[in-house]
């Protein structure tokens, strides 16, 4: 007959200080682990959530991002009339030629960051459905106006509605603020493509082209046609694939975090084991009595195992609560975490500890509970009733 769970539960209260201390250790590891996981998944989510599966990114063959691609005017004029490209109400192709430049913007705290500035035509809003102007209005071409994403807003000097933004060689008027479902578009500034090209003295008018296809069935043929066209040496890919690839650099961070979590977990497990060994030791007589009453070894083993798991479960609950609170607090204090030194553009991400991050921390806490209880529970189960009673 197994011992009731309430036995394990009550034992946790026998030495409240010690239980609290051990649960705190697990809680701290949970906070550290879920904070890190939250950071990386927020970064990935921001990048991966960018784009539309019906959109294609057309770039120069060999370039790996917008910033290093070039596209000539002839190529744009030819490509926009390819079959399979969707059209708007006035029968214009949903093809958005874009120029990406990464100028410096001065941050409020005196530093500077490379910010992705996208030169666009008005059609861009129709192609990028995620992007919606939520305040102010869309920029008017040829009047040195820009609209800024929500992540950019307030981070840089002049990045506010109605302000003058110093960028590149000139000064631009901020006339609108846009939202993009939390995707990395929100870390961008949009300007008129021709004006931006003039400002950056670009030889080619565009860096790439974004296309909306009519239906999913048109995606593959259109990609093949663009890839195979010998005139322009361009290649196309799904917009979602493009951003998934951009997020790959975050994967190496996962390896790091998992490594840290495992080391911290083993450490916390050692600490919890200590507490459980002490519990077994101080309850030797009790265990002897239980065995004498007829409880089996398996019952003793599971009772202590349950106690250890309950202890780390308690740690998880406390830790998870703290992690969510701390990430919210950091979000307010840091106002979004900036990322991306090597890609030359800054992604401003909102740190959020989500369910999947907490799941990761839960698995860690549960494993700590199981393994830290194993040794002590085994020792308790092996106690010989007579000796245990005599020792007491």
């Amino acid at each position: 007959m197994p011992l009731p769970v309430s036995y394990s539960l009550r034992n946790l209260r026998a030495r409240p200080g010690r239980s609290a201390m051990t649960a705190s250790v697990v809680a701290l590891v949970v906070v550290a682990c879920s904070l890190f996981l939250g950071l990386i998944s927020s970064l990935k989510r921001t990048i991966v959530s960018t784009g539309n599966p019906l959109n294609l990114v057309v770039m120069r063959k060999g370039s790996d991002n917008d910033g290093s691609s070039q596209l000539s005017l002839e190529a744009y004029q030819a490509l926009r009339f390819f079959d399979g490209i969707a059209r708007d109400a006035e029968d214009r192709p949903l093809a958005s030629p874009e120029l990406v430049v990464q100028p410096f913007l001065r941050t409020k705290d005196g530093g500077r960051e490379n910010v992705l500035v996208r030169g666009v035509q008005p059609v861009a809003l129709a192609v990028h459905e995620q992007v919606r102007v939520i305040e102010g209005r869309m920029l008017t071409p040829s009047s040195h106006e820009v609209i800024v994403g929500r992540g950019v807003l307030g981070r840089y000097e002049g990045a506010a509605l109605g302000s003058d933004l110093h960028m590149g060689r000139g000064t631009w008027k901020v006339v609108g603020i846009f939202d993009a479902d939390g995707s990395s578009f929100e870390s961008e500034v949009w300007a008129d493509v021709r004006e931006l090209g003039n400002d950056a003295k670009r030889f080619f008018p565009y860096s790439g082209l974004r296309l909306r296809v009519v239906s999913p069935a048109d995606v593959e043929p259109l990609i093949r046609r663009i890839d195979d066209d010998p005139r322009y040496a361009l290649e196309a890919q799904r917009e979602t694939d493009y951003y998934a690839k951009q997020s790959e650099s975050a994967n190496s961070l996962y390896v790091l975090v998992v490594g840290i979590a495992i080391l911290a977990g083993i450490g916390a497990g050692f600490g919890a084991s200590n507490t459980m060994y002490a519990a077994v030791q101080s309850r030797t007589a009790e265990i002897g009595t239980l065995r004498a009453l007829g409880f089996s070894r398996a019952a003793i083993l599971s009772a202590f195992e349950i106690e250890a798991v309950l202890l780390s479960g308690l740690g998880f609950v406390i830790g998870a609560g703290c992690a969510v609170g701390l990430s919210a607090l950091l979000g307010v204090l840091l106002g979004g975490v900036a990322f991306g030194a090597a890609t030359f553009t800054t992604n401003v991400i909102t740190l959020r500890v989500g369910t999947s991050d907490l799941m990761g921390a839960f698995v860690l806490a549960f494993t700590i509970g199981i393994f830290s209880g194993l040794g002590p529970a085994w020792r308790a189960a092996r106690l010989r009733p007579i000796e245990a009673l005599r020792k007491a």
């Binding site: 201390m21 060999g62 060689r169 961070l253 990322f339 090597a342």
Partner: protein, 388 residues
Amino acid sequence: MKYLGLIWANLGRNKLRSALTGGAIMLAVILVCVLLTMPAGLNAILEHVSNNTRISVHAKGGLVYQMPYSFTRKVRQVDGVAAAMAQTWFGGAFEEAGRVTFPNFAVEPEQVGAVYPDYPIAAEQLADFQRYRDGALAGRQVMRKYGWKIGDRITLRSTAWPVNLDLRIVGEIASDRYPSVWMSREYLDQALKAAGRPGLGTVGIIWVRAADPNRVNSIMRQIDEMSRNSEYETACETEKSFISNFFGSLQGFVTIILIVTGLVALCIVFIAANTASMAVRERAGELAVLKAIGFGRRVIFATLLAEAVALSVVAGGAGVLASVGLTGALRVFAGWSDALGPLGGFIVTAPVIVQGVFLSLFVGMLAGVVPSWGAARKPVVQTLHEVF
């Protein structure tokens, strides 16, 4: 000194507990050290790699705004400039990665020695870099990551230019802090012309070395003055300022790393304190007897505290040593990570070691002080009552 035996015997009394606590402390110190190498890597680059006589000349608008290559010559003529080297981002991807996994630039080989006299490059390798048009210099991190040797031939597929370059590794920048690969500017220029492009008429950054550190500011002013109101206005800054600005966007991430480090450190305090309090509780009778036969409170307090400190310092010291080994392994496997940039150097520096050792000392003190104090202060009669 005469109490050392007692402290040692007490630590050995519950070997399993001492081992578990020591293990936990060791793991946590390893973590703290590894995490601290990340911000320390950034600082080390600022302090050691950057040089106060080197100046970066780049377009005011941003690094992607190019300057005409001819401007390099004008910069060389500025009074007080010892040497200047044009540097252009090549953005080469190696092998199957398909994306840039280490920074690589086209530079002027004949200027490298004069602009970077502080870089550890062997003289004959530098001479080879100048002699062979397809020569390349690679940082030690990259050499190790891809198992390159001097004399190897590699192909870099540029993501920034419509060319691929076949390069021969002729030398190594012999330090773990330099993750870059350098190739000849002229080679890229000719490759571009062969591909039907106008050639490399522009430059992204001109690195200048001032002959005299006191004249750095006046040189920067003169260069900016030269370009004023032209189509390529420049913004000069010292190498240190350039690097700190370039990696400024990592600050938020660094903050989070430091928070996590703090949490892990707090963890060890709890674990060690728990152990210390268990030890004191179990030994209550014994301590009372010690006091009853005349040992002073101070001795009791000191031996108990010393026990906690000894455990955490020994374990922490082992942790610091282990972290040196672990980061060595990390460097070999991870190399330069494009997501971490300079944070991913994983080099345990002297300050990191000092911090690790101090942390373990501090943990031992903090964990031991409350239980030891309590045990030392408790009246003998009361303790003996409780026990017997």
